[in-house]
């Protein structure tokens, strides 16, 4: 799921400087699961903003609300508040939500309360780590399920470089060398032959090579209005 972190408080406060009436909008999707942008976190941030406003003598009214997800149009019907009635909305969604909701409310600035960071898994209670880069060309079939794009600092595809230090990447001592993990896993699975193959350079067209990526499932595209038949 998408993982995000709350922006530094001062940065958020600065973003809100031009506005007087702000809605903090939580998202019930990924950001709730990583405990960053759910209704509870929105309430806490709204509280902090009100306290800060009082502290600094800012003319700022802050309310909060939540929505099932900010990446599907239909959920806005369930909103108790009307974002259009605020000077700005401080969205607790990931970057997708902020951008998408901006389109749905073109007259209202949607500001990001979070920095969207990575696609991650919950490795332990309270901890998430990056597992995928969304490169669009998944190679996990022949790397034993360990992603070299996300988890190798250099996103190499042909094996370890010379920078493995005690099994860790020399760039981040907290991080296992992904290719060493891949090598061990493939060895365990008896598939070292996959490691031996020369992989051609990646096709970056699936990965930001061409701007906005899209997905369309034709079977779900809205039915066209039928012209009345004779």
């Amino acid at each position: 799921m998408i993982v995000a972190e709350r922006k530094p408080f001062d940065e958020i406060l600065e973003m809100l400087a031009p506005y007087k009436r702000v809605l903090v909008l939580a998202c019930g999707g990924c950001v709730t699961v990583c405990l960053t942008g759910g209704e509870k976190q929105a309430d806490e941030l709204a509280s902090q903003l009100r306290l800060a406003a009082r502290q600094k003598g800012m003319d700022l009214t802050v309310e909060s609300d939540s929505i099932t997800r900010q990446c599907d149009r239909e959920f806005i019907e369930d909103l108790k508040t009307d974002p259009g009635q605020y000077d700005a909305v401080l969205s607790m969604a990931c970057g997708v939500g902020v951008g998408f909701m901006s389109e749905l409310y073109p007259e209202t600035p949607f500001l990001p309360a979070l920095n969207t960071t990575f696609y991650g898994a919950n490795t332990a209670p309270g901890a998430w780590a990056e597992y995928c880069r969304g490169c669009g060309d998944c190679v996990l079939a022949w790397t034993g399920g360990i992603c070299p794009v996300a988890r190798c600092s250099k996103s190499l595809i042909n094996g370890t470089c010379g920078g493995t230090n005690d099994g860790k990447c020399e760039v981040d001592s907290e991080m296992d060398c992904a290719w060493l993990l891949i090598y061990k896993r493939l060895k365990e699975l008896g598939r070292l032959d996959e490691y031996r193959k020369i992989r051609p350079p990646r096709d970056h067209r699936t990965d930001r090579g061409r701007g906005v990526r899209r997905l369309v499932h034709e079977e779900m595209v809205e039915l066209e209005e039928e012209e009345s038949k004779a």
């Binding site: 530094p8 408080f9 001062d10 939580a26 019930g28 999707g29 709730t32 699961v33 990583c34 405990l35 759910g38 209704e39 509870k40 976190q41 309430d43 806490e44 509280s47 902090q48 009100r50 306290l51 800060a52 009082r54 502290q55 600094k56 939540s66 099932t68 919950n122 209670p125």
Partner: protein
């Protein structure tokens, strides 16, 4: 989404989440014949809210003081805590609080106007008085006719004073009458007036609640001797302090509660030896276990498996009873059908016999009326509508139900009131007797994780002391004991409920639950038969998807605001102290203690339910500093509570720092389990040393 799942839309339409507790009942409430909100009043007691507790009890139970003394407590028998350690001492808690409040301390819900029909009630026992009370509350004008000079029925006439002091009973009678119930004592229906007279006089309905006021007698040689006493008449004489000619060697025939009452009364009247003889084995004996035990402590011997056949007289005095052996009491279908062995006959010496072999109805009230009786002399009666054969005449209580307890009589009377009301409004009498389902027993795996606390003992008066008087045989729980006991309640059915539309299945609730209760599949679901209502998941759910059935989880800010407003400050810094009240006194909870200047004390059943938002809200409401006073690790009502709140305090401190406030404005102390002597100075110190806001 499964059946029974709740969404935020479902909850939005409710005036309060407490309505959710009506969807399934804790077994205590379910088993209670009047379905009192046991959990509710126990929680009120735990928080020192004596009046709330009393009012909650009396909402369902008019004879609160009586039951606090003599109820057979089916609630306790079904209390789910018995699978953890021991059942709650519910009756003792009820006794504690209703006697503390008396009649003046209980709210009277008099109808705005009492101008509807007049209704006559025959018999001022629990059934009749309960029917009268409910009719008065509905705006009717009930008059209760009672042949004895006092109201109360069996509790007034036959329950021994050592079990039920008469002053205690009077509290209930006074409270009931305060609702506009007219009492006409010393008037016997069937003799002084007939039921037909009542109907002619302008009573539009009559409720017969005559009870089982007579003892059954067994005809046998010698049975008409003057020292052969029917038990109820004996007990009535004792109740009214009429002298009783009792010998020194009393034999009570019977194995039920009335028999035990008679035997224990005989002991107190000074009989040298008192024995009880019954058909049943010890296991079959119908008297309550605790009655049997107390009787034996008082020196009463039980003789089992014997039935009397002759009362032996010599020179006009009773010298003994001839009794045959009983081979069995109940047949294969558990019906009463005693069989005897006439070849096995013994003689038991005695000089007085009290016959307590069963109660019978005094059908005198039928005299002069056209009420029909069946071939066994019982009132012709429809249990569903509670109507007798005459239009407008209803019946309730033991006169028509199987013999039962005071609380069961109350329930029958309340139902009769509903029937009468429907009748008088010209509607069909159709009463829905269905109940919400009962919450299941607690699973072993969860029961093991609940912190064990022993049940508070009741201090009994030692047998040798108590058998000399008709004074109370035990003491009411002391206030501290009552608080401790009430805080053992597991709050069944008041715990967490997931709003499945908001749940993101993030697993947080499962991770923070100290009892590992939530099951997370597509969404989280919390089993109400396991939830301990600690509130931790509610405080930590990132989606705000969990609510509490038993309290308003978002209601704390309003309470904080009110507390701050009423805390005197005069220039002092304003401090909000969230205090775990699990070990606190009633005075602490009620605010009846020396306040600390500027400190608004907010008591909670546990700090487990305090969220980061609540802490920030305190600052928003105007607190300069906030203190969280938790119990020491391990002393809280719930496991891990102190550690969890400690983390939340750290989190909140960070959020305060981000805003530019001094994080030291929020501090936590672990000493709520110490008494006020420790807490008070800690509050004073904190008020003095915390940095200025």
């Amino acid at each position: 989404m499964r059946d029974g799942d709740l969404t935020s839309r479902d909850v939005a339409t409710l005036p309060s989440t407490c309505e959710l507790m009506e969807r399934e009942w804790a077994p205590c409430r379910h088993a209670c014949p009047v379905h009192a909100d046991v959990r509710g009043y126990i929680e009120a007691i735990a928080q020192g809210r004596w009046r709330d507790a009393t009012d909650l009890i009396r909402d369902n139970l008019p004879f609160a003081v009586v039951c606090g003394r003599i109820c057979h407590h089916p609630c306790e028998a079904n209390c789910r805590r018995r699978d953890v350690d021991e059942a709650l001492a519910i009756r003792e808690l009820k006794r504690f609080v209703v006697e503390l409040q008396g009649a003046e301390g209980a709210t009277v819900h008099k109808a705005a106007s009492q101008d509807k029909a007049r209704v006559a009630v025959v018999g001022a026992g629990p059934a009749g008085m309960s029917a009268a009370l409910d009719l008065a509350k509905m705006g009717y004008r009930p008059t209760v006719f009672e042949k004895f000079p006092v109201a109360g029925g069996i509790p007034a006439t036959a329950v021994p004073k050592y079990r039920l002091p008469r002053e205690a009973l009077q509290i209930d009678i006074d409270w009931i009458c305060a609702h506009g119930v007219e009492l006409a004592t010393g008037l016997e229906i069937g003799k002084d007036k007939t039921i037909d007279d009542l109907l002619a006089e302008g009573f539009e309905a009559v409720v017969v609640a005559a009870g089982l006021a007579k003892s059954r007698l067994l005809p046998m040689p010698g049975a008409d001797h003057q020292r052969v006493y029917p038990a109820l008449e004996f007990l009535t004489d004792v109740s009214f302090d009429h002298p009783v000619d009792l010998g020194q060697d009393v034999l009570v025939v019977g194995g039920g509660n009335v028999a035990v009452d008679a035997a224990r009364s005989a002991v107190r009247l000074g009989a040298g030896r008192v024995r009880m003889m019954c058909l049943e084995t010890p296991e079959e004996m119908p008297a309550y276990e605790w009655e049997q035990q107390e009787a034996q402590e008082e020196g009463i011997e039980f003789i089992h498996r014997r039935g009397p056949i002759e009362i032996l007289l010599r020179q006009g005095q009773i010298v003994g009873v001839k009794a045959r052996a009983v081979t069995r009491v109940f047949d294969e279908n558990e019906r009463f059908d005693p069989q005897y062995d006439d070849s096995d006959v013994i003689e038991l010496a005695c000089d007085t016999v009290i016959m307590a072999i069963g109660q019978a109805a005094d059908m005198g009230f039928v005299e002069g009326s056209s009420l029909k009786q069946d071939d066994r002399g019982r009132l012709v009666y429809d249990a569903a509508t509670q109507q007798a054969s005459l239009p407008g005449v209803f019946a309730c209580g033991e006169i028509v139900t199987p013999p039962g307890s005071a609380v069961e009589a109350c329930a029958s009377g309340q139902r009769a009131a509903v029937a009468v009301d429907l009748f008088l409004r010209g509607q069909e009498i159709r009463i829905d007797d269905s109940l919400p389902p009962e919450i299941d027993c607690i699973a072993e795996g969860t029961a093991e994780k609940v912190i064990n606390v022993s049940r508070e003992p009741v201090e009994a008066v030692p047998p040798q002391t108590r058998l000399k008087t008709f004074g109370p045989i035990d003491k009411t729980l002391a206030q501290e004991a009552a608080l401790r006991e009430s805080r053992r309640c597991m709050n069944c059915g008041a715990g967490a409920e997931v709003l499945v539309d908001k749940c993101a299945a993030c697993l947080t609730c499962l991770r923070v639950c100290p009892f590992d209760i939530p099951k997370v599949t597509d969404v989280a679901r919390i089993d109400s038969s396991l939830c301990q209502a600690c509130g931790m998941c509610i405080a930590e759910c990132p989606a705000g998807a969990i609510i509490a059935r038993g309290w308003d989880a978002r209601g704390l800010p309003a309470r904080i605001g009110a507390a701050l407003a009423s805390a005197a400050s005069d220039g002092h810094a304003k401090i909000v102290a969230f205090i775990c009240g699990h070990h606190a006194s009633a005075a602490d909870w009620r605010g009846e203690r020396e306040p600390v200047a500027g400190v608004a004390e907010v008591y909670l059943p546990s700090v487990a339910r305090l969220s980061v938002s609540d802490l920030l809200a305190a600052f928003e409401k105007g607190a300069d500093r906030v203190l969280v006073v938790a119990c020491h690790e391990g002393a809280d009502r719930y496991p891990q509570a102190t550690r969890r709140i400690s983390r939340r305090v750290d989190q909140a401190r960070q959020l305060l720092a981000e805003v530019g406030l001094d994080p030291d404005c929020l501090r936590m102390l672990e000493l709520a389990d110490e008494n006020r002597e420790a807490v008070h100075p800690a509050l004073v110190a904190a008020a003095g040393t915390l940095p200025a806001g």
